[in-house]
């Protein structure tokens, strides 16, 4: 019976890698985004906080930065400094980058929704 219960366990939820962009203010608050509503908002906040923290600490180390490219095995994060806040692009690797050929370019911003 115990063996059968194994199949009753809920299957782990696979978090799809986010594809889209968002802007954040200088406090890490997400202002607008083009990400699916199923993607946890808390994670967006985490990304924003981490990106802003790196920009801020780089400036304190006399290294002013305009852009960060973070390459994971299956996701690329591109963050552009935006008057203390950030414009962040998330692109899963292996997918066609047609939606954002140039991060921050017109193709990337026209899809932004409030």
């Amino acid at each position: 019976m115990g063996l059968l219960r194994l199949f009753d366990r809920p299957a782990p939820v696979l978090l799809p890698l986010p594809s889209g962009s968002f802007t954040s203010d200088r406090h890490g608050m997400v202002l607008i985004d083009t990400l699916p509503s199923t993607f946890p908002r808390a994670l967006l906040g985490d990304i924003a906080q981490q990106v802003l923290r790196v920009f801020r600490e780089a400036a304190e180390a006399q290294l002013p930065l305009a852009e960060l490219n973070i390459q994971y095995a299956s996701l690329r994060i591109t963050a552009r400094e935006l008057r203390g806040g950030a414009l962040v692009f998330l692109a899963p690797q292996g997918l066609a980058p047609a939606r954002w050929p140039i991060p921050g370019g017109p193709a990337g911003t026209e899809n932004l929704r409030a």
Binding site: L15, L17, P18, L43, D46, I47, Q50, R53, V54, E57, A58, E60, A61, Q62, L63, P64, L65, A66, E67, L68, N69, I70, Q71, Y72, A73, S74, L75
Partner: protein, 366 residues
């Protein structure tokens, strides 16, 4: 890894028993000098090259304590060879040999920074003197110091020029890094090193531990970007350097520096290299950086922060970070137990930074 170990072993061996590189297109001369040099008290190992190209290949392959080069050679002449060696291996003492004494050759050779210009010895007395000079060069300590004025720091050199009210341009090279210091009537008026100017550049240049310098004619039209008197400027720079150096014993034993892989300085566009241990102990390497401690802390924090974020996103391992800035680009990546932070020229595109960083990591892994 084994290649690096071989190179280190060769370096140790070279310290114990010096190796001399002898360059001459005439095989008879090579044989004769090999025999002569064999009489030196330090019993050096002699390697010979019959052309400049062969000499370059040997210099790349193993460390030498001294290079002796004939000036008249076909294709690449001795002056060309010495000029390249001065740039690529500024610490290597060099001797120029000539069969015909020519004042122009002599002054050109000394301008290139050769340690000794010698007419090929003909008599027994000349041979004896020649060998004594070579032995003295072999015995000289080659750690640090700027060539041209042995055992003098860059601070000493600038102080000397300022005290004598000189007007000149000092060009300083430290591997791939080049810096310029303008001195006008005994005052430092400006400095420049890749992408930086003024006092900031001056401090960065002063932080270089060794290299090669040359004096160029003054540029009287150069606008003054540094207004402080030279002695105050040198004092401030020296204090800043002292502050950056950890006092011995203050934080336990100094970590042993990591060995820099061969070929690293050949990578175009690189401004600095910093390797910091993940656990804050052990070996490290910092080259061409003003404040390695601060930059290291930022690099470690950024990599750890994004690693942790990657775990929450389930995006797989963090491979690399490229940080682009108006003054310089920086690439961050972890490899083994080290975190790497490498600075790049801001003119490079992000794709170039990515590719070049991979090359740095590959060199390190070798």
């Amino acid at each position: 890894m084994s290649e690096r170990r071989d190179w280190q072993c060769m370096r140790k061996e070279s310290r114990a028993r010096p190796t001399i590189l002898l360059v001459d297109d005439d095989p008879d001369h090579l044989d004769m000098y090999r025999e002569l040099l064999g009489q030196l008290p330090s019993k050096p190992r002699i390697q010979t090259a019959r052309s400049g190209a062969q000499a370059m290949a040997l210099l790349e392959a193993e460390p030498f304590r001294l290079m002796i080069c004939d000036l008249r050679m076909p294709r690449m002449d001795g002056l060309q060879v010495l000029s390249i060696v001065r740039r690529t291996q500024p610490q290597l003492p060099t001797v120029a040999l000539t069969s015909v004494l020519d004042e122009e050759f002599r002054s050109r050779a000394y301008a290139l920074g050769v340690d000794l210009f010698w007419q090929k010895p003909a008599s027994e007395k000349e041979i004896k003197m020649f060998l004594e000079c070579l032995e003295s060069l072999l015995g000289r300590e080659v750690e640090g110091g700027f060539r041209g004025v042995q055992s003098k720091s860059l601070v000493d050199i600038i102080q000397l020029e300022c005290l004598s009210q000189s007007s000149l341009l000092l060009r300083i090279t430290n591997g791939k890094l080049t810096g310029k210091v303008w001195i006008q009537e005994g005052q430092v008026i400006d400095a420049e090193t890749d992408g930086q100017g003024g006092e900031r550049a001056f401090q960065q240049i002063l932080s270089w531990q060794a290299g090669h310098f040359e004096t160029l004619p003054a540029e009287p039209g150069r606008p003054r970007a540094i207004t402080k008197p030279y002695n105050g400027l040198l004092l401030e720079s020296a204090q800043a350097l002292d502050e950056r150096r950890t006092p011995p014993g203050a934080q336990g034993p100094e970590p042993s520096p990591a060995a820099e892989p061969a070929g690293l300085s050949e990578i175009e566009g690189m401004e600095f290299v910093l390797a910091v241990p993940r656990d804050e102990t052990g070996p490290r390497l910092a080259r061409g950086l003003e404040d390695p401690k601060r930059m290291g802390a930022w690099a470690r924090l950024s990599l750890n922060g994004f690693r942790s974020l990657g775990e929450r996103l389930r995006a797989g391992p963090l491979e690399q970070i490229e940080a682009l800035g108006p003054q310089r680009h920086v690439a961050l990546a972890g490899q083994g137990d080290l975190e790497f932070c490498v600075g790049w020229k801001p003119s490079l595109a992000v794709g170039q930074v990515r590719t070049l960083m991979k090359r740095v990591l590959a060199l390190w892994a070798c």
